[in-house]
């Protein structure tokens, strides 16, 4: 058992008070920046780099960054749940049911289930990273454009239920998202599309800008548009902060499923955490006993995606540690940091610097426990935020959104885009067009198109490329089943109902 002795030596390193301290600092910073809008873990690590070179050795730095990475995933859901303002694209889906829970007085439970789910996923992902890294990375390398395309199709098919009873409107919103996603430079051909010569649009519409516009701005308009003369607050009184027995029961399976989905998707360098959260949401909706509750505050819709989010963080460390290939922007900054220490990353990392890899893995276990201890008490504090009078809370949400979007790019034009999308979102919401499919289209669309065209360039125009390859064919077949299964189930129920 090579990994067993490895992890023991890792704990021997990570449990030294000096490294424990860095793990604590990392998780605390990570939680804080996760809550702050517009400051992601990649920027935080970049900002810290000059100091870390002077302060810590590479092992300590890596432990610090690992803590920030996991911590940011913990903190990211907080604003989604409390004020419907996702700070990064991977917590967009959490906003749907999380915020509804908050309005029903279950903010405490939503925050708790996401904290515990993150802990479960973080621990499972770290464990899988330890035992399965090599086979998984071999599998990930087999993923070419055709396979990635198939994964995107699967993600799209599994979330078709996201619309909540209005399939046509959901379809239109997905298409709107796809349209938004086509704005900007087309990487495959170099053409510029739908920008009308405005440089800000060359990079496309940012997912965070769109999500904040759709969710937060619309919410503020509805909230303030009913504030004067309203009989009861939009937020019900927060009840118990703890999760009820039923909420525990409903969360457990989504945590486990979300962890697995997140980890597997995270290992694929071309997919990313957002896809994992969407997939998990789709799976939970299908698995749930009461799917009609989704969109109205189903705890499964928070537990699953939040676990998936953290699971994918762990997964994305696999290609980083085994091949030196970053699976996310944060992993890329961590890679640059390691190179800054003069450490050659890549496949030889484990061989040459076992103390670093095992120390990081061990400290991630410890960091997860720290995060749970740190975050559960914070739940009570965050929930108090909802006690701020609404006349102040809503303007603050808008101010927070502006600050977040501005600090991402320091570009006022992005604020105008957010304003426009906010007005659109307000209209859509008012006439019962579901909003989440817009984000789904915006995230998946560009990837779908890119991988599809890459596959065809690589095959020099041979369309069989998608079904010739067993892996891609299998995933596409799964998507077809996912799409058709509900119809068959429906027909089956009708058939059984008839004789009765």
């Amino acid at each position: 058992m090579e990994s067993f002795s490895g992890i023991l030596s890792g704990f021997a390193i990570a449990l030294q008070p000096y490294y424990l301290m860095w793990a604590l600092v990392g998780t605390a910073i990570g939680t804080a920046i996760g809550v702050l809008p517009g400051i992601g873990p990649s920027l935080a690590i970049s900002l810290l780099l000059p100091f870390t070179y002077q302060l810590v050795d590479p092992v300590g730095a890596f432990i610090l960054f690992g803590g920030i990475f996991y911590g940011a995933m913990y903190g990211g859901s907080t604003t989604s749940i409390l004020i419907n303002t996702p700070g990064e694209s991977s917590s967009v889906i959490t906003a749907i049911d999380g915020y509804q829970m908050a309005r029903k007085g279950r903010a405490g439970a939503a925050l708790a289930t996401s904290a515990i789910g993150s802990f479960v996923a973080g621990t499972i992902a770290t464990f899988l990273m330890m035992v399965l890294a090599q086979p998984l990375v071999d599998m990930a390398l087999r993923f070419g454009p055709a396979e990635y395309f198939a994964v995107m199709v699967l993600a799209l098919c599994s979330v078709t239920g996201i619309g909540g009873g209005q399939p046509m409107k959901a379809a239109l919103c997905t298409l709107l998202g796809l349209v938004l996603g086509m704005v900007g430079i087309d990487i495959t051909s170099g053409a510029i599309r739908f920008t009308f010569g405005i440089p800000t649009l060359f990079d496309g519409v940012g997912v965070v800008v769109a999500a904040i516009g759709l969710f937060a701005v619309g919410e503020v308009l509805v909230g303030l548009g009913n504030l004067r003369g309203q009989k009861q607050a939009r937020f019900m009184d927060t009840g118990s902060l703890m999760m009820t027995r039923e909420e525990w029961k409903r969360s457990a399976a989504p945590w486990l499923r979300g962890s697995a989905i997140g980890f597997v998707i995270g290992v694929l360098p071309g997919a990313g955490a957002t896809i994992a959260t969407f997939l998990s949401y789709g799976v939970e909706k299908r698995a749930a006993k009461r799917p009609e509750e989704f969109g109205k505050g189903a705890i499964e819709g928070v537990a699953g995606p939040e676990a998936a989010n953290n699971g994918s963080a762990g997964g994305s460390l696999v290609p980083l540690l085994t091949l030196g290939i970053p699976g996310s922007a944060t992993a890329a900054v961590m890679l640059a940091a390691l190179q800054g220490y003069g450490i050659n990353t890549g496949p030889l990392l484990l061989q040459k610097h076992p103390e670093l890899v095992w120390g990081l893995i061990a400290s991630l276990y410890i960091g997860n426990i720290m995060l749970l201890v740190l975050n559960l008490p914070l739940v009570g504090l965050w929930v108090k935020l909802l006690k701020v009078p609404e006349a102040l809370l809503y303007p603050m949400i808008l101010a927070f959104s502006v600050l977040g979007v501005y600090s991402l790019s320091r570009n006022v034009a992005d604020l105008y885009i957010m304003f426009g999308i906010g007005v659109l979102g307000f209209l859509l919401r008012r006439y019962k067009y579901p909003l989440a499919p817009v984000i789904l289209g915006l995230v998946l669309g560009p990837l779908l198109e890119k991988e599809f065209r890459r596959a065809l360039i690589g095959s020099r125009g041979d369309w069989w490329v998608f079904v010739d390859r067993p892996l891609s064919a299998t995933i596409l077949a799964t998507s077809a089943i996912v799409l058709v299964a509900p119809l068959i189930g429906y027909a089956w129920r009708r058939l059984r109902a008839r004789p009765a």
Binding site: I39, R228, M396, A399, V402, R410, L427, R460
Partner: protein, 178 residues
């Protein structure tokens, strides 16, 4: 506020119809724009206009279906036999209605002002003015509380971003002070 204005009035129904028709027009415009994308001279099997045209066409289909459904609800006589549904979206668990339109205009106006003035006036000033103005619009009785909160919020985040996180924020006309 009368009870009547809390529901969805005739204007609402018109806007909903207009939105459904707007999507049809938008789809057509989008397809038209897609056909104008220049195809780069490169051996890529699927050009840069193909996906937009496919998506635009599907969107046109879906939006026509939605608009047709909507029009049949609104004017059953003109568009075949009516489906007999209500002319407006049912009100059950409706949490998106607006009772106070002046408030919505106030929010949109001040939000736009915040964006326009952010760089000329600087972060602290615009944010404080925005927060104070909007919160006092809704609870004029608590102006002092609103003022203190607004100033604290702006100064705290200004300090956090510029001094702790080293992310510059616009100083605007207060630049000589900082």
């Amino acid at each position: 506020m009368s009870e009547e204005s809390s529901g969805r009035g005739p204007i609402d129904a018109k806007v909903e119809t207009a939105l459904a028709i707007f999507f049809v027009v938008f789809s057509i415009l989008f397809i038209w724009q897609s056909t104008k994308i220049p195809e780069p001279p490169r051996n890529i099997s699927v050009g840069s206009g193909t996906f937009p045209i496919i998506v635009g066409t599907i969107m046109l289909g879906v939006s026509i279906a939605l608009a047709w459904k909507r029009l049949r609800e609104v004017a059953p006589r003109l568009f075949g036999r009516g489906v007999g549904e209500m002319t407006v979206v049912p009100l059950d668990d409706d949490d998106t209605g607006i009772r106070d339109w002046p408030a919505v205009w106030a929010v949109l106006g001040s939000f736009l002002a915040l964006i326009v003035m952010l760089e000329p006036l600087g972060f602290v000033l615009t944010f404080a003015l925005f927060l104070f103005g909007l919160s006092s619009f809704f609870s004029p009785g608590h102006w002092l509380r609103n003022l203190v909160t607004s100033l604290c919020f702006s100064l705290f985040f200004y300090y956090l971003f510029t001094q702790v996180l080293l992310q510059p924020l616009p100083n605007g006309i207060l630049a000589p002070l900082f």
